[in-house]
């Protein structure tokens, strides 16, 4: 077999050949490290635009500076999340400002009686029970602590979705390896992040059922 002689040549110790081997090893190493750290995260996430570029700042000013004017607790203790079309319509039945986003909202959603398919940055998977009441009412936390200062943003950032899991990149977290710091000024919301904060604040990570359903 031909390999036999190759091996013997190699065994004889051809210096430059050894270097070539090492160089190739390094090429492989560096290339994979770069693609793994730089290209992979780009490939892993798809980028989506919000259906309407919503201006939180303007609404916050109009609604008296309170998040809970639109994101409120219902009587049964549940949290309303994003406003429904019905709730938006209570002001935006007809154009109020001449803003093009507002016009788009009225044309495409109000007039067609269609809910706006907002992409929720902090959307938790179906197995999670997250209690806004416990955090906001019970522990007196501010919205911005987790969500960042989205209330004063004038434009919605793009939404990044993990192609494998369907998770929003915002909840991405510490488990395994995080790929970058949160860029929204709030916190990551994967389980380990929750547990870390709970451990710090309450002395216990909490029992499973506290957050799972």
């Amino acid at each position: 077999m031909s390999t036999q002689s190759d091996n013997q040549t190699a065994a004889a110790g051809n210096r430059s050949s050894g270097w070539v081997v090492f160089v190739f090893f390094m090429i492989g190493l560096v290339a994979s490290i770069i693609s793994g750290w730089v290209a992979f995260p780009e490939l892993l996430y798809s980028t989506k635009q919000q259906p309407i570029d919503f201006n939180h700042q303007v609404h916050l000013e109009q609604m008296g500076g309170q998040c809970n004017s639109c994101h409120f607790f219902r009587e049964d203790g549940s949290f309303s999340g994003s406003p429904t079309l019905e709730e938006c319509k209570s002001c935006h039945m007809y154009p109020m400002t001449g803003n093009e986003n507002e016009q788009k909202f009225i044309d495409e959603y109000v007039n067609q009686d269609k809910e706006v398919p907002w992409l929720i940055y902090a959307e938790q998977p179906p197995c999670v029970f997250f209690s806004h009441a416990a955090h906001v009412k019970g522990a007196d936390m501010q919205c911005a602590t987790c969500h960042g200062d989205i209330g004063h943003s004038t434009s919605l950032r793009e939404y990044q979705e993990n192609r494998i899991t369907g998770y929003s990149r915002d909840i991405w977290g510490k488990s395994m390896l995080r790929l970058g710091e949160p860029d929204h000024g709030g916190r990551h919301q994967k389980m380990n992040d929750c547990a870390e904060c709970h451990l710090k604040e309450t002395g216990s990570k909490g029992d499973c059922f506290q957050c799972h359903k």
Binding site: T3, D6, A10, S16, S17, V20, V21, F22, F24, F25, M26, I27, G28, L29, V30, A31, S32, I33, S35, G36, W37, F40, P41, L44, R74, D76, S78, S80, T84, P125, P126, C127, N162, I164, T165, G166, Y167, S175, M176, L177, L179
Partner: protein, 757 residues
């Protein structure tokens, strides 16, 4: 420099080492695990604000109040309505799982006409306009041909707005053939009419009674009764006695303070035997009988004919004799009679959710016990609830064709001289059609509920009869056994999608009217049967159109319920406590103005020459030597025996010794089973005069030797793959046997033989 295989190898190794230093393998491992946690084919129910809507379940005639939890336009869950007077929050599994039928594969999703042969299951979607005009044309044609009376209508009730609209429609159109599907209430209501002279239902004040004597009623095993009875049972203290007379240890019997295992079909004898002891020992309410009883003692009519009274009748039913008939110890009969008589508020019940048909005589014999106890219109006793009259009607005029049609005899023979007091004889309809020469007497059949091809006593001959009917319209919500054989499907919405009034359910001791209302928007392209009738009437024009001055069913309800509509909308039910007249003075509307122990009306129709022998029991056809066993049906609340099948959830609760795969198990006493060489789980063939069935054997000590019991509600072909094809329909194995007094089916079982398959 030589680039060889080793260089390539190092590149790969370098790449592999490098990759482990990147997030790639770790993040992928994690993300793939997360992917398994969020599989796109595992549904993620949408969240939103919860609403709770009060309504009423109409899947059986029980009329239980419900609260439906909705999120957006989705009905999530059904729970009991705690303040509802019928069920006080108690619900059976069927009501709880109603959302399964609402969204399930059994639904008919829009109007359709038959595309292939009947029963082939091929359908063509059509528009509602086309559907309604097809009906209109057919009906108009029959009318022009002078045959309006060849139109028949079958419904599961004659007491709600749809039934009234249908009945009104038939009268305006010219047909007397409105037929109600059979139930255990038939004989009961007829007996009520004969002995009280009133049309209506009987109520029992279970909550206040301290001694409930049930003659085979599936109080807690069956539909109709369960909501009321379980709520009462939940409140009962340990002092209240519930006595169940039944040959099989049913769930009601299991919960009873005493289980009296009398032979099936001997309930009448037992009731008369108990009467014997009470009369003999003077343990009866003399005051009541003196002032309100008729035919207790022997009597003579104007012509001087002598008639025996109840006292002479029961003389023949001594404990000794009844012990032989019923298979009970004499002691039991004596002590039971005394316990019943001595209770403060005893009540005897029959014809209320019984799994087996009962005769009118059985109902009369049990009424007599209540009369002896003097418990009419008293707390803990028996109440009479008149037919509902809450729908206020406008008079209507009809044309000559209609009036001629209305005067024709009913096809099922009810109301004829032979069965003068019987209102409907659904079980005689198939025979009437099958025995007719030439064209079927029914040329068009409208089926608005009741699923007759499943619920009639002899489904095989009913199916044969239906084959002869040229035009069958089904209004069924579901693809039930009858819809499968129809020509035209005009699906009615599910009860969670529409308004429907529900009159006082049988068994309720006071008037309670409930309103089912739309909990969600209709899921499919359905239309309320009331709307279809009104629109058809309008299409037919003339007097018929004029008889229906309403826009649609909802408009009709609002107008006719004018006073109560608001209460019903707000509260979900309307009850009438104040106006109830509990006095006995006006209770009896018989010709004697008294409670008739042995009703004159009954004898007249039977035309019996020798009234003494008139307590006929219904004997079963078949040779005892060839068919030594008796097959009896039993109810279980986990399987629905009625028109609407059980839900998949209910089937899921059924034990593996009741249904296993496609097989139904029959219960047999181990002693009987060993006689036939059968052991637990064996496959066997069950033979009755009506047919054969493949079954499996479940040994149960709680059933009388010599009997074979099979659950009702199986052997369906309709609905969906989740429901059809399991077991056999027990009523298909029990040939109808006419009650001579009424013409109603009173076959309480069937002679049977069983052998290893």
């Amino acid at each position: 420099m030589k680039i060889d295989r080793r260089c390539f190898l190092s590149l790969v190794i370098g790449g592999a080492v490098g990759t482990t230093l990147t997030p790639v393998p770790w993040k992928l491992t994690d993300d793939i695990a997360i992917w398994t946690q969020n599989w796109s084919w595992t549904p993620e129910p949408e969240d939103g604000p919860s609403k709770f809507v009060k309504s009423v379940c109409t899947q059986c005639s029980g009329g239980c109040g419900i609260i439906a939890r909705t999120i957006g336009n989705r009905a999530i869950k059904i729970e009991g309505q705690p303040d509802h007077p019928v069920n006080n929050g108690s619900l059976c599994p069927k009501a709880i799982s109603a959302t399964q039928h609402l969204y399930g594969p059994s639904r008919i999703q829009g109007p359709m006409k038959r595309a292939g042969e009947r029963g082939q299951g091929k359908w063509e979607k059509i528009s509602w306009d086309e559907a309604i005009s097809t009906v209109t044309e057919k009906l108009a044609e029959l009318r022009t041909r002078g045959k309006p009376h060849s139109v028949a209508c079958i419904s599961d009730t004659d007491r709600n707005s749809v039934a009234y609209l249908l009945d009104r429609f038939l009268r305006a159109y010219g047909s007397p053939n409105f037929i109600r599907t059979p139930s255990s209430a038939d004989a009961q209501e007829l007996a009520l009419y004969l002995s009280f002279g009133r049309q209506g239902t009987i109520g029992y004040d279970f909550k206040q009674s301290d001694f409930i004597l049930s003659f085979g009623c599936a109080l807690m095993d069956g539909c109709d009764a369960a909501g009321q009875m379980m709520s009462a049972f939940g409140d009962m203290d340990k002092k209240t006695r519930l006595v169940q007379i039944e040959a099989r240890l049913s769930d009601t019997a299991a919960k009873a303070s005493q289980w009296v295992a009398a032979k099936p079909g001997t309930e009448t004898d037992l009731a008369l035997g108990l009467g014997h002891v009470m009369v003999r020992d003077g343990l009866y309410d003399k005051a009541f009988i003196d002032s309100h009883g008729f035919a207790f003692e022997d009597r003579e009519d104007e012509a001087g004919n002598a008639y025996p009274g109840y006292r002479s009748l029961v003389r023949d039913y001594s404990p000794e004799k009844v012990a032989k008939t019923t298979g009970l110890p004499e002691k039991t009969i004596e002590s039971l009679a005394r316990a019943f008589a001595r209770a403060r508020r005893p009540v005897a019940v029959t014809g209320f959710s019984n799994p087996a048909a009962a005769s009118v005589n059985q109902a009369l014999a049990v009424f007599a016990l209540n009369a002896l106890a003097g418990n009419f219109q008293k707390p803990g006793g028996v109440f009479v609830i008149d037919e509902p009259d809450y729908l206020s009607w406008t008079e209507m005029k009809i044309d000559k064709t209609a009036s001629a049609g209305n005067q024709q005899a009913r096809i099922d023979g009810a109301g004829t001289k032979r069965f003068a007091h019987t209102r409907y004889l659904p079980n005689r309809l198939p025979e009437a059609i099958n025995s007719s020469q030439g064209d079927s007497p029914v040329q068009a059949l409208l089926v608005a509920g009741g699923n007759p091809l499943y619920t009639l006593a002899d489904p095989q001959s009913a199916k044969k009869a239906f084959e002869k009917i040229p035009f069958i319209v089904s209004f069924s919500t579901f693809m039930d056994e009858t819809a499968e054989q129809a020509d035209l499907l005009l699906p009615h919405p599910h009860f969670l999608e529409c308004y429907q009034d529900v009159p006082t359910p049988a068994g309720m001791a006071k008037t309670v009217i409930s309103l089912a209302r739309p909990v969600v928007k209709p899921v499919y392209d359905t239309r309320h049967t009331g709307d279809v009738i009104i629109e058809t009437a309008k299409n037919l024009g003339g007097f018929i159109e004029n008889a229906f001055p309403w826009k649609n069913h909802e408009d009709f309800l609002k107008k006719t319920l004018s006073d109560q509509w608001e209460t019903l909308e707000k509260q979900g039910y309307w009850t009438d406590d104040s106006s109830r007249d509990n006095s006995l003075e006006k209770l009896f509307r018989t010709s004697s103005q008294r409670f008739e122990f042995l009703p004159r009306a009954g004898f007249e129709t039977q035309g019996s020459e020798n009234p003494k022998s008139k307590v006929q029991t219904v004997s079963l056809p078949g040779d005892v030597n060839e068919l030594p066993l008796v097959l009896v049906p039993y109810s279980t609340i986990r399987i629905s025996g009625g028109a609407v099948a059980n839900t998949p959830f209910m089937t899921k609760t059924v034990d593996a010794n009741v249904i296993a795969q496609q097989d139904v198990f029959v219960e047999i006493n181990p002693e009987t089973a060993s006689e036939y060489g059968l052991s637990q789980g064996d496959k066997a063939t069950l033979k009755t005069p009506a047919g054969n069935a493949k079954v499996r054997v479940n040994l149960f000590e709680g059933i009388m030797p010599g009997l074979v019991a099979m659950p009702a509600g199986l052997g369906r072909t309709g609905f969906s793959d989740y429901i059809a094809g399991k077991g056999v329909n027990v009523y298909g194995l029990i040939a109808p046997a006419a009650d001579p007094a009424s013409g109603l089916n009173a076959a309480w079982g069937a002679r049977a033989a069983i052998g290893k398959a």
